[in-house]
């Protein structure tokens, strides 16, 4: 194991998959000559050439559709959105074409495509550039959605996504690109299956369910809770769809208390779906109502203090955990 950044981990995943399979190509705005808006694709043009690392004009709808068409005849495109906020311009392609093709062609055309890029609020980017899109996309049958929180998960999930025969969205996070973590050496194949959560910290009193940018919040809060003799188990979903229900139920059956900390909006958010499934399946295991910590239900304000007030944070999570523990 060695320590690398989330950005480097993604870069390694791209390079390894491009190396392994000639039908894989990377396409998006500024991915080639500029070396990636967030430098995730740095060095790939030099290594794999312009045929496989392809700059596009600002045409999200166009190049997302191009990727889907290429996937219909067996290529395995990786389409980078500079941010998933821009994927909304390509919503029709991502929602109407990629996941519907397999059903409406009667199983003749599956779409092995990966859409990737940063997702969720970063810092003071305002309403149009701060979308957390995981709940929109997870609600669409035919799509798979993963949300890596660590360099290791980023590498392993992206590599798995590229090999999946269905459309997969890898929702990265701008604020995580420079974060560091331990990852297997490059000569060791790292594949992390979609739909497998990971217990990032074991505990016995309360389950904190988190993903993406909220994992580090959960771990910070868990450390603080320990000082108050509350043992929190941190379950990182890693994939929003498929959802690892088994991992959730196992943890809840142990702790009997749940807080979900999510980076999307509360209304029809990821946590709403998880709450429903927990109460439906293991209602008797619960000793307290499930609480959710999410964004406030407002478009993102630019003002720093207001933005802070909108986002889930350690303070809000801490209070929610205390509440479900009646502490």
């Amino acid at each position: 194991m060695r320590e690398i950044t989330y950005r480097q981990a993604l870069n390694e995943a791209l390079a390894e998959e491009l190396e392994r399979d000639p039908s894989v190509f990377l396409m998006g705005e500024e991915v080639a000559e500029y070396q990636g808006a967030y430098k995730v694709s740095a060095g790939l043009l030099q290594r794999f050439g312009p045929k496989r690392i392809i700059d596009t004009p600002i045409s999200e709808n166009g190049f997302a559709g191009l990727g889907i068409g290429a996937a219909m005849v067996g290529l395995r495109p990786i389409i980078e959105f500079m941010t998933f906020s821009f994927s909304l311009v390509a919503f029709d392609q991502v929602v109407n074409n990629a996941p519907n093709m397999f059903m409406m062609s009667g199983g003749q055309f599956n779409i092995p495509i990966t859409f990737r890029g940063p997702n969720g609020p970063a810092h003071q980017l305002g309403a149009t550039h701060s979308h957390a899109t995981e709940n929109f996309y997870a609600s669409v049958p035919g799509l798979k959605v993963c949300t890596p929180a660590t360099p290791r998960d980023a590498k392993g999930l992206l590599k798995t996504a590229v090999r999946d025969d269905n459309p997969v969205l890898v929702l990265e996070a701008e604020l995580l690109y420079s974060s560091k973590g331990m990852v297997e050496p490059p000569d060791e194949e790292l594949l992390i299956p979609l739909g497998k959560a990971e217990v990032k910290r074991e505990g016995s009193d309360v389950t904190v369910i988190c993903y993406a940018q909220t994992v580090s919040i959960a771990l910070t809060v868990a450390a603080r809770l320990e000082e108050e003799d509350i043992s929190a188990e941190v379950v990182d979903l890693r994939s929003i769809k498929p959802l690892d229900e088994k991992a959730i139920y196992e943890s809840v059956a142990k702790t009997h208390r749940v807080v979900i900390v999510e980076q999307d909006h509360p209304y029809c958010g990821v946590g709403a779906e998880i709450c429903y499934r927990i109460q439906k399946t293991i209602f008797d295991e619960l000793d307290a109502p499930i609480l959710r910590v999410s964004q406030e239900d407002v478009p993102m304000p630019y003002n720093e203090d207001l933005e802070h007030a909108v986002l889930p944070n350690a303070q809000k999570l801490f209070a929610a955990v205390k509440k479900v523990c009646y502490a």
């Binding site: 190049f63 067996g74 290529l75 062609s105």
Partner: protein, 325 residues
């Protein structure tokens, strides 16, 4: 693989008749409530797809919008598979899961059947991208209506195709109306073909009621593309005799206009050309038409007798590995 242009014109006339009779029968079955959803008929436009397909190879890629029955039949999908699809049966070309607007046939390189206007044009560019990526000499034919040319995805797709010099022929089937809105009321240009010029794509106007003109033009352009990859644009002028869909009485146009085009019918025209040249007798034509009618009638029987789709299969086509998410 042998280009279809070598194929007998009589055979292509019988294909046009098959499309015409298929659509007439589909209309009847729709009214009898055997067919659900939306149903858009191709009657009047047969020479466009027949001419285009006659000029390309069976392994070239074809993709179109929702008025797609003719395109599947022209590609080689059987009348049985097409009618069964309309009936929503598993024996249909999309297993009864796509319906009228979503005909797919992988074996015959028919990539749909797409029902969001112009959303398939970027897909077509992706098919062409894959051809170039693999250094193949195939060509992609992307059909769409005049209603598609004002959508953003159309413009983005043309720009990408020109930028990457992809092997694709954009075929605008200009039937003068996007649903009930005439081209005059939807498009700022006097001629649709001028859209191509804005992307530095060579474009031409073709008489879509003339099988031979469509075939020869598509053959010429496809040949040029196979020699050196590039996009091209054809505005093929045609006319649909029926409304936009089965529920549209087409009251936005005059009887006189319709009659004018009916006199220029593509089937009558090719028939007259062949008769004049001594390649077809009246008896032979009647035989062809009889055969088309019989084939279509048999397809209705086939569709009726095909078993219903089992509900247990509901989740089989959500993910490739069949797994629930």
């Amino acid at each position: 693989m042998q280009p279809l242009e070598q194929r007998d014109e009589v055979e292509m006339l019988s294909l046009m008749l098959l499309i015409r009779r298929f659509e007439e029968r589909a209309s009847q079955q729709y009214q009898a409530q055997k067919i659900g959803g939306f149903c858009h008929l191709y009657i009047g436009q047969e020479a466009v797809v027949t001419g285009a397909v006659a000029a390309i190879r069976p392994d070239d890629y074809v993709i179109t919008a929702y008025r797609d029955h003719g395109h599947a039949l022209a590609r080689g999908t059987t009348a049985n598979a097409c009618m069964a699809e309309l009936f929503g049966k598993e024996t249909g070309c999309s297993r009864g899961l796509g319906g009228s607007m979503h005909f797919f046939d992988k074996k015959h390189h028919m990539y749909g059947g797409h029902a969001i206007v112009a959303a398939h044009v970027p897909l077509a560019v992706g098919l062409a991208f894959a051809i170039k990526y693999r250094d193949e000499d195939r060509v992609t034919l992307c059909f769409f209506g005049d209603g598609a040319i004002n959508q953003g995805s159309f413009h983005e797709a043309l720009n990408l195709a020109a930028l990457y010099r992809l092997p694709i022929i954009f075929i605008c089937e200009n039937n003068l109306f996007a649903m009930g809105t005439s081209v005059k009321r939807s498009t700022s240009l006097k001629q649709i073909v001028d859209r191509a010029e804005g992307y530095d794509i060579p474009g031409e106007i073709v008489d879509g009621m003339n099988f031979r003109e469509v075939r020869d033009k598509v053959a010429e352009v496809a040949d040029s593309i196979r020699k050196e990859s590039h996009p091209a644009f054809l505005e093929v002028r045609t006319y649909r005799y029926r409304g936009h869909s089965m529920s549209d009485p087409a009251s936005y146009r005059t009887k006189e206009e319709l009659e004018k085009y009916r006199l220029d019918d593509p089937i009558i025209r090719l028939r007259a050309q062949l008769t004049r040249e001594g390649k077809l007798t009246n008896e032979q034509f009647d035989q062809l038409d009889k055969h088309a009618k019989e084939t279509v009638l048999a397809s209705v029987k086939f569709a009726e007798q095909s078993p219903e789709l089992p509900v247990e299969k509901l989740y089989d086509y959500v993910y490739f590995n069949g797994a629930k998410a």
